[in-house]
């Protein structure tokens, strides 16, 4: 029982972290019809920034304050990075074929990975221990970090806030309009460039929050650390119906929990190796039987 609860807890936490990345994928897709392949790497860069800012600020102020300041700085700088990537790599290609933008996204992804390799020297870096989030608490006989418990709660709060933003505010209305029809909304006087920027800002901020929770739990960062979570979050977004925020979150939780259950099955069955294969098999099944995902709109666009 204790063991079952431990599996469920880590499944929920893994799912929550995928969810925070998946939202960024799904929002950008919803508006630009672009799969932002650099998103997983933005997540990784946010993690590295956490390491460098903390060690830099610790020399200036007390450790506690340094961590807090660096977390704020990480979110601000990640938002800035997302914004710059959109302006430099995607905006000039606004009228280009969709394939060009996607290739540009892949280029940005490799640029970020290789820059990270250059700066870190390719060595795994250790994420700082954040007070409170890093502390452990005992739940039903299992020691877990506060970050694990906090992740799903935070995800739900953020998603509720986001759906309010999309459905109730002027920016949200503009977003929905741009998602429906690019050209018409432009004719209606919507500044589509600023709407798209806002989307990237929100996506990057969520990736930054996700990176803080994720790397507090799994403290080692290599330049390819964003690739796997990024891919799985992408599968989650497709599973939930790409373009739909609640869909991405539900997809992420399902994938996170299934993955941990597979890992946790008895060793004698020898199936734990297939935890990653499961995620991608799921992607294939979804694409074959329900291409629009669980909550997807009925679009026939091809990527």
């Amino acid at each position: 029982m204790e063991y079952a609860i431990s599996i469920l807890l880590s499944g929920i936490s893994v799912g929550g972290q995928y969810a925070l990345i998946a939202i960024g994928y799904t929002m950008v897709y919803g508006i630009l019809r672009l799969i932002n392949f650099a998103h997983g790497d933005v997540f990784m860069v946010a993690g590295l920034m956490g390491i460098y800012f903390t060690s830099w600020l610790t020399s200036v102020m007390s450790p506690g304050a340094a961590v807090l300041c660096s977390l704020l700085l990480v979110i601000v700088m990640t938002v800035l990075l997302g914004f710059i990537i959109e302006r430099v790599a995607y905006k000039p290609l606004r009228s280009a074929p969709r394939m060009s933008v996607m290739i540009s996204a892949i280029g940005v992804s490799y640029l970020l990975q290789n820059t990270a390799t250059y700066i870190t020297g390719g060595q795994p870096m250790t994420y700082p221990s954040i007070p409170f989030l890093f502390d452990t608490v005992t739940v039903a006989g299992n020691n877990i970090k506060w970050a694990v418990l906090l992740t799903p709660v935070l995800v739900i709060i953020l998603v509720l806030a986001l759906t309010q933003l999309i459905n109730r505010t002027k920016v949200g209305m503009a977003m929905r309009a741009v998602a429906k029809d690019f050209e018409t909304s432009r004719l209606m006087g919507i500044k589509i460039n600023s709407v798209i920027s806002v989307t990237f800002v929100i996506g990057s901020a969520l990736a930054a929050v996700g990176s803080i929770l994720y790397f507090t739990n799994y403290q080692s960062i290599v330049p390819t650390a964003g690739a796997m979570p990024g891919l799985k979050a992408f599968v989650a977004a497709v599973f939930g119906g790409i373009g739909s925020v609640p869909g991405a979150v539900i997809g992420a939780f399902i994938i996170g929990i299934c993955e941990t259950i597979i890992k946790g099955l008895p060793s004698a069955w020898d199936v734990s190796v297939f935890s990653d294969a499961f995620t991608f098999a799921l992607l294939i099944v979804i694409l074959v039987f329900k291409p629009t995902g669980l909550f997807g709109e009925k679009a026939t666009d091809k990527v």
């Binding site: 599996i7 020297g121 020691n143 877990i144 739990n217 799994y218 290599v222 690739a227």
Partner: protein
């Protein structure tokens, strides 16, 4: 206007590409002609001008970068002390040529080809058995002798005439660790966790299982997929299945994650690690926790005080070297092994009386050398070092250092 700019950009890029190609062919040309032109003149006295290249086949990036860099440190330190070698009455300057195998088996063959292309006399490395196995056939085909430093998997040298090594093998190491688990902890159930598809991890686990089950124990095995980062499920499984020891012969990047997650989960079973875990990044990850960790390794600090003092001074001599060693001057066993490997290579050249790869390979079988890590000689079949002792160290988590637990010989299988 836009079209013109685009055209110009394309032109610039293609010129840069051409320039890059031209540069490499130009620099390669004199190298390939150098041995030919110097061969007939070898009787003419021109001491000091002659260069012999030693290839360093190590990971400088990727999961094993931390270990690769430490192994290179040993070679660089040895090179800084002994930059020349006397072969056949002539003095050669030794030049280290680096090729980064990126810790991955798909990059290893091209890194190996790069060294073959550089006309090196002998290759040292690599840290990590998987990349050594992947690069091995390239050296074999080129007739280039390679000297494994800490690649412990038997398949590195088996069936490869040109691969030698100076370290012990995994079946020996696993035997030592399995016996240690039985003797020290009366362990009945061992949980083994390795990376899926990694020859090193899986090889050690298979040998460990053989010895451990033969002695009456039970082994539970699990493999995690590449780039996995959530290990809490595996660790909770080990706990719920009542493991007495947890054996994790994984690369450093995974080891730090497994151990730090185990610390926060409050896992009480002791961890056993192989030679890869003997790294100060691992120590750093469990500093201040209650984790019990035992690793088997090649060298323990204090084994040769002169070497220890010299390498510490070298490590502290520049910020870059200190960073390559993980930020402090704890001596890794792989550094001592890299140091010994360099001298074994020089010894082989002296014995061969030549710097031609074929002569060095022929002489290699008879090389004997007493290094800081012990006596080195090669057995007749595969060119493996004859080693019968391993050091077992335990991590002192209070101050982040290693303590020698015991010096163990195998069960004599």
């Amino acid at each position: 206007m836009k079209k013109i700019i685009a055209l110009l950009l394309v032109l610039c890029m293609s010129f840069a590409l051409l320039a890059g190609c031209g540069g490499s062919t130009e620099s390669a040309a004199p190298e390939s002609s150098a041995p030919e032109s110097s061969a007939p003149e070898s009787s003419a006295p021109e001491a000091g001008d002659k260069v012999v290249k030693i290839g360093v086949f190590e990971p400088a990036t990727g999961d094993s970068a931390s270990g690769g860099k430490k192994e290179m440190l040993g070679m660089q330190y040895a090179n800084s002390i002994t930059p020349t070698v006397e072969v056949g009455g002539e003095t050669y300057t030794v030049e280290l040529v680096y090729a980064d195998n990126g810790s991955t088996t798909d990059k290893a063959p091209s890194a190996a080809s790069q060294l073959v292309g550089e006309n090196v006399a002998i290759v040292l490395g690599s840290y990590g058995s998987g990349v050594s196995i992947a690069g091995g056939p390239i050296f074999d085909d080129a007739g280039l002798p390679a000297l494994g430093v800490t690649c412990t998997n038997p398949n590195v040298t088996a069936g490869n005439d040109y691969y030698f090594r100076i370290c012990f093998l995994d079946n020996f190491q696993a035997d030592v660790l399995a016996n240690f688990a039985m003797d020290k902890f009366d362990a009945q159930v061992a949980y083994c966790l390795g990376e899926n598809g990694n020859e090193y991890d899986q090889g050690l686990i298979a040998f460990f299982e053989q010895v451990f089950t033969a002695a009456g124990g039970t082994v539970i095995k699990d493999s995690f997929p590449q780039n996995n980062s959530d290990f809490s499920t595996y660790l909770n499984k080990a706990k719920s299945e009542g493991a007495d020891v947890i054996f994790t012969p994984v690369s450093i990047a995974y080891a730090t994650q497994i151990l730090s997650q185990a610390a926060s989960l409050g896992i009480e079973a002791p961890f056993l690690g192989s030679d890869t875990l003997d790294d100060n990044m691992v120590l750093e990850a469990i500093k201040g926790t209650d984790i019990e960790l035992y690793v088997s390794t090649f060298y323990q600090e204090g084994g040769d005080p002169d070497f220890d003092a010299g390498i510490k001074e070298y490590i502290n001599s520049s910020a870059d070297i200190l960073a390559a060693n993980g930020g402090n001057d704890t001596i890794s066993a792989v550094t001592a092994m890299g140091y010994d490997a360099y001298y074994v290579a020089l010894e082989a050249m002296k014995l061969a009386g030549s710097v031609e790869p074929a002569d060095i390979k022929a002489a290699m079988w008879d090389v004997t050398y007493t290094g800081v890590s012990g006596d080195i000689a090669f057995e007749e079949v595969n060119g493996d070092a004859i080693r019968d002792t391993a050091f077992i160290k335990t991590a002192n988590t209070a101050d982040g250092t290693w303590t020698l637990e015991t010096v163990q010989t195998g069960s004599g299988q």
